[in-house]
């Protein structure tokens, strides 16, 4: 069969795979943002032991490859009695790793806010909560956006790792189609086009969003 015919035949399956990849990305992103927030709170808080645990967590989980985390979540936890379905093992592994990255991005975002801003807000008589909510966080968010969106496009690509534990994402579909058709290059190229189109689309949208946020603020 010609390449185009094959592509037409397999495209629906690939798009179904893309949906799984996106669900995985969304769930992992939520977990990573929550974990990142906790890590920042722990590291900037007053309780020493929590700060030490959070720092240790970041050091360790940043140094271990995501694939090792994935196999740990899928196989090792099962041996220890916690049997996660492939999808959720993927969410846990990706969330555990990207949480450290998002935590660091949030921390440097907070640090980028000029201390004078906080002092001025306090001098104006704003309460602690209001200083955070109205002065510090909006500025920190602006600094957080560029690295944060960059991390997101890496997260999408890393969801392709779940192929190794049999989750039927886009990469899994491509691999299955490659084996079925004996035309691996055609199938992987189609997968590449789908990933790439999505990557371009997403980076355009995120760039526009960043620009809008910046404009509204200034």
């Amino acid at each position: 069969m010609s390449t185009l015919q094959l592509w037409g035949q397999y495209l629906p399956q690939f798009l179904a795979g893309l949906v799984v990849s996106l669900q995985l990305t969304g769930a992992a992103l939520v977990l990573a943002l929550a974990l990142g927030t906790l890590l920042v709170l722990a590291r900037t808080g007053r309780i020493r032991i929590l700060a030490a645990i959070a720092t240790g967590y970041v050091e360790v989980f940043r140094a271990v490859p995501v694939l090792v985390l994935l196999f740990t979540a899928y196989y090792s936890l099962a041996q220890l009695g916690l049997r996660l379905p492939g999808f959720w093992a993927g969410v846990v592994a990706l969330g555990a790793f990207y949480g450290t990255l998002y935590g660091e991005d949030m921390r440097s975002g907070l640090q980028s806010v000029d201390p004078g801003q906080r002092e001025a807000a306090v001098a104006l008589g704003l309460s602690n909560g209001a200083v955070m909510r109205r002065v510090v966080l909006p500025q920190a968010f602006l600094a957080f956006l560029p690295p944060g969106t960059n991390e997101l496009s890496n997260l999408i690509k890393d969801t392709s790792l779940v192929l190794t534990i049999g989750v039927t994402d886009l990469m899994f579909q491509a691999n299955a189609a490659a084996a079925a058709t004996f035309q691996p290059m055609d199938m992987f190229l189609l997968a590449g086009l789908v990933y790439f189109a999505f990557y371009i689309l997403l980076s355009r949208i995120l760039a526009r969003w960043e620009l809008n946020v910046q404009r509204r603020r200034s």
Binding site: E59, A63, V68, Y75, N175, P184, M185
Partner: protein, 214 residues
């Protein structure tokens, strides 16, 4: 616990394979990366544009997909690479895509005045790059180069998929023999942790020493 004693050597051997591949790939991609960064900055529209597209493709596609295109995809055209050469080729192609951006950022971070001064002194472009710009860019690039090195070590985990006997390969082999994934992947995690923490420690020492020189 005898499982650990039994398989530790295999994991260490796998680590050797990982480090060897990383070292070769990083060395090659640094050299090519410098050339490509210079090409991207000074090479005019055509060459610069081509390099930009290359970088976008490498950054836009998932690593597994790139590796599979090289190893499985090319076999459709009767180009059958061995596991080792396919793995190494991918690490190099991927590494070049990242190194270009690191060097471009580093070179562009050196102030224009430095380049103009070198021009005014009658240095050729190559001389200016080698003696004025790159030494200053080095300092800016050091942190991202260390991140890049760690990234490449992590990327080697994918190579078991094409049958290279790295740490992951050994850990999977051990798992299917012993049915003790917690221990085997725990050992793999520790091995990567040791390698990557050592690399980042070396990186921060280098940075501190470079900072002292200035």
């Amino acid at each position: 616990m005898h499982v650990v004693a039994l398989y530790w050597q295999a994991i260490v051997d796998g680590g050797g394979v990982d480090l060897e591949l990383t070292a070769i790939a990083v060395a090659v991609s640094v050299v090519v990366g410098i050339l490509a960064a210079v090409g991207r900055i000074y090479g005019g529209k055509l060459l610069g544009g081509a390099i930009t597209v290359y970088v976008e493709i490498i950054r836009g596609l998932p690593p597994i997909l790139q590796l599979f295109i090289i190893y499985f995809g090319l076999s459709q055209f009767q180009i059958n690479l061995s596991s080792f050469s396919a793995g190494l080729l991918w690490l190099v192609l991927y590494g070049v895509g990242y190194a270009v951006e690191i060097f471009r950022a580093g070179i562009e971070a050196v102030s224009v005045g430095q380049r103009e001064a070198a021009d005014a002194l009658g240095l050729t472009r190559v001389q200016a790059l080698r003696r004025i710009i790159l030494p200053q860019a080095w300092m800016v690039m050091l942190p991202s180069l260390m991140t890049f090195l760690v990234l490449q070590v992590k990327n080697t985990t994918l190579l078991y998929l094409v049958g290279i006997a790295d740490i992951m390969y050994q850990a999977r082999l051990g798992t299917s023999a012993t049915e003790q994934p917690a221990i085997m992947y725990g050992m793999a995690a520790i091995a990567y942790l040791i390698i990557n923490l050592t690399l980042s420690r070396i990186g921060s020492t280098l940075e501190r020493r470079q900072a002292l020189y200035r």
